[in-house]
Amino acid sequence: MAERVAPAIDWVRATVVALLIIVAGVTAWELKMRAEGLSTRDLGDGDSHWAREWRRVENGEGQAVIVGSSRLLFNLDPQLWGRITGVTPIQLSREGTSPRAVIAALAADPEFKGLLIVGYDPIPFHRDRGLFNNMVETAREEPLFKRSGLLVYDQLARWFAFLDGRMTPMSWIERIDVPQRTARGAFNQPWKLVETGEGRAGAIWPRVETDARYQAKAEAIWMLPPPPGVKPLTPAQIRKLLDKLAQDVARIRARGGEVVFVSSPSEPPLLDREKRLYPRAVSWDYMIRRTGAAGIHWTDDPVLSRLRTVELSHLSRADRPVFTRRVVQLIDAELAKRGQALAGLGVRPPSSGDGAPAAPQSGRR
């Protein structure tokens, strides 16, 4: 094998030019991303972030765990929850993804005996495959280098907003306005809906609330036709998957854990679609009856039903604490009805000051 030799050019000059272009390119993109609304408050939310939180549960820190799809990810404030109850829940919700597989994994973990708050967003809840699949397996098999890489990323994310990664030059090109040959694609999707802080605490991205055009685009995605090949479930199929869910819930409760289902507000026409695909009697009511778990449905509560969404599906940042306080209060009351208390799960019940729901603040503009 021949020894390699470097091409005979002025490598120092080439390196200087390359570095100048890198600095200029990265700076320009960083400025553009900040102008688009990104900030260094957002610490990112990839598979490794989720895996890190999952390992906390496996390591026995799961006194209170939130699983669900985007609504509990955006609407619940784990830090506020922690201030109220003394235990900050671990956030394991993931956008567009059913929590059922995570519940099954927690049910199979004999060490998990905590409070499990399950977000019920009808459409993703019933899906077998969502935006993120095999999250538990991926977390368990996550190689060491990804874990260490996340530590480096954590530091960089505090300096560079563009590291958010949801808007790359590629995704920017994909959103160029040209005649489209398909009904679905990146071109009709907003590129970002959530801002994520420490411990994957999510909240709706401010731009969704402040930019009317962007808000309209975000609203439109809920009404897109389903992906090709996806068919609505029949009542029998719904019952089958909820029966399996009931077994998992029973296992958690049998060893002293508790499960509470939480449904968050949505608005027409998305709400109409949810009601049509998963009628309450067939899905929610059956699930609560079959699991015997506590259920908080937003339509049953005067405070929650007054909340308005930003883009049909998620609450504003201002209403996030209202929602959080009210849910804590309702969970405490539901458990009390069953002769249990949050305190029995190692969680402090809400004090009157912290737990009082504030008035809804905002919603769609």
Binding site: M1, A2, E3, R4, V5, A6, P7, A8, I9, D10, W11, V12, R13, A14, T15, V16, V17, A18, L19, L20, I21, I22, G25, V26, W29, G46, D47, S48, E141, P143, L144, F145, K146, S148, G149, V152, Y153, L156, F162, L163, G165, T168, P169, M170, I173, E174, R175, I176, V178, P179, Q180, R181, T182, A183, R184, G185, A186, F187, P228, G229
Partner: protein, 473 residues
């Protein structure tokens, strides 16, 4: 550890710092060995034991073989090495596959057999380092080479992190002599190494992962019928993805190694400019194709025993080459198709007395295009999960799914078209050229400018450090 990860940047800085620190040459090699184990352990630490077992056993078998003159005893020693290396490979990679097929066979003759659950994780890169260590013992057995004098050098040859998990599959002659004397890279060589890392990462992160992977994943993952355009776009995108992914890794490996002062062999030579399939295999995964040629095809008899035996040897070599890529019959079919192509090409050359390449540019281009399209057909089997999916996609590509709804949006389709046209044009332009020569002919500011743009694209596109496709093999 993957090259396109934040951890690797930190790792590489530390490795370079140690390598250029004032240690003795022996200490530097020891450092590289330890860092190589860390590189491997960053995936799954326990699998280091397999690497150690392979290293120690092959070191001693080669030593004993060299001292042993009696053919029968030498063969026994070779069998120990083969049993360990191929045994580990078979257990981890083909165990489940063998059980599934045994179950299917039993079922076919009416015997109900339920195999035990097989939850074995495949050690990363096992196919690569198995072939590296086997080349050492086989060379000593075949008396092509003497065993090394230093266990440290041999352990480093097996474990050297740039090639460890996805090649190039190095031979003892490639690396062992380089470990004998102190080496560091000169400043130009170091910077050229960095340039190759940037080029490799651009291929992997931008071309393979960001541009082409989404299209090929959508098409190969589609259960419903697809229009002809979408089907072909997905397959062509995969042809580019797998090249950019794997050649990108090899380029990074060569660059990383060069920064430390060591040369690794070339693994890809613009394969989509190949005219014919023997030309393709001189350009695609060269370190594997030459390994299969030297340790399988030639020992089987090569082309020395007549036409039919040559075809048989070609088919056997390519079928096993297919199986090397993965425990699935689809990979065997992929290899079988390449074996068939090679045999037909050989037959046509002999039948019509064709030698070398055609003279005219149009004929060359036409043959290169035919070669590329036939290679694309083999990628269908390589990438599809099963024969059902492959068959469906082939029907789509034949235009038999009239009225199917498109799934690739306009911009990704256009990006695929532009990227693949550019890739094929670059391959054609470079088919008889060397990258080093081309770079040397350009002004420094242009080289720096292109590298700067590539590096910027890599940084902005980022990704989550997805694994290289060939890691799974």
């Amino acid at each position: 550890l993957v090259f396109n990860s934040l951890t690797f940047i930190v790792f590489f800085v530390i490795v370079v710092a140690f390598h250029y620190a004032p240690f003795s040459w022996r200490a530097k090699k020891f450092n590289l060995l330890i860092f190589s184990y860390i590189f491997y352990a960053a995936w799954n630490p326990p699998f280091i034991l397999l690497l150690w077992a392979s290293t120690v056993v092959d070191w001693w078998m080669a030593k004993l073989m060299y001292r042993e003159e009696r053919p029968r005893q030498r063969k026994h020693l070779l069998w120990v090495s083969l049993a360990l290396n191929l045994g580990m490979l078979s257990y981890f990679k083909y165990g489940e596959f063998a059980l599934e097929n045994f179950q299917a066979l039993m079922s076919a003759i009416g015997v109900a057999y339920a195999p035990p659950e097989w939850n074995i994780v495949l050690p990363i890169g096992i196919s690569f380092y198995t072939f590296v260590t086997l080349s050492y013992t086989l060379d000593v057995y075949l008396k092509r080479a003497k065993p090394g004098d230093s266990f440290l050098d041999f352990a480093l040859f097996v474990t050297y992190f740039p090639h460890l998990v996805a090649g190039p599959i190095v031979r003892p002659i490639d690396l062992l002599p380089q470990f004998a004397t102190p080496r560091v890279a000169s400043r130009p060589l170091f910077l050229w190494g960095l340039a190759l890392i940037v080029l490799g990462l651009f291929n992997k992160v931008v071309v393979a992962d960001a541009i082409l992977a989404p299209v090929s994943e959508d098409v190969f993952g589609a259960a419903m019928p697809l229009p002809l355009i979408d089907a072909w776009a997905g397959v062509i995108a995969f042809s580019g993805q797998i090249f950019a992914d794997f050649a990108g890794y090899s380029t990074c490996a060569i660059g990383v190694s060069l920064c430390l002062g060591f040369s690794l062999p070339v693994n890809f030579r613009y394969p989509y400019a190949a005219i014919g399939f023997s030309d393709f295999w001189r350009r695609w995964h060269i370190s594997l194709s030459t390994w299969l040629r030297d340790y399988l095809y030639i020992p089987l008899g090569g082309n020395r025993d007549g036409r039919w035996r040559t075809y048989r040897n070609l088919m056997l070599t390519m079928l096993l080459g297919g199986l090397w890529h993965g425990a699935n019959w689809t990979f065997v079919v992929w290899g079988g198709l390449h074996g068939l192509y090679l045999s037909v090409e050989r037959f046509l050359r002999e039948r019509y007395g064709l030698k070398g390449e055609p003279r005219g540019l149009a004929a060359k281009l036409l043959l290169a295009l035919v070669t590329y399209l036939l290679v694309c057909l083999t990628w269908v089997f390589f990438r599809a999960q099963d024969f059902g999916s492959a068959g469906k996609l082939l029907r789509d590509m034949a235009g038999l799914s009239a009225g199917a709804a498109p799934i690739i949006a306009t911009v990704p389709l256009a990006l695929t078209l532009v990227t693949m046209t550019a890739m094929l044009a670059v391959h054609w332009y470079m088919r008889n050229r060397e990258l080093e020569d081309e770079v040397a002919r350009r002004p420094a500011w242009l080289v720096g400018g292109v590298l700067g743009l590539m590096a910027t694209a890599v940084i902005l596109v980022q990704g989550e450090g997805s694994a290289f496709i060939y890691f799974q093999f």
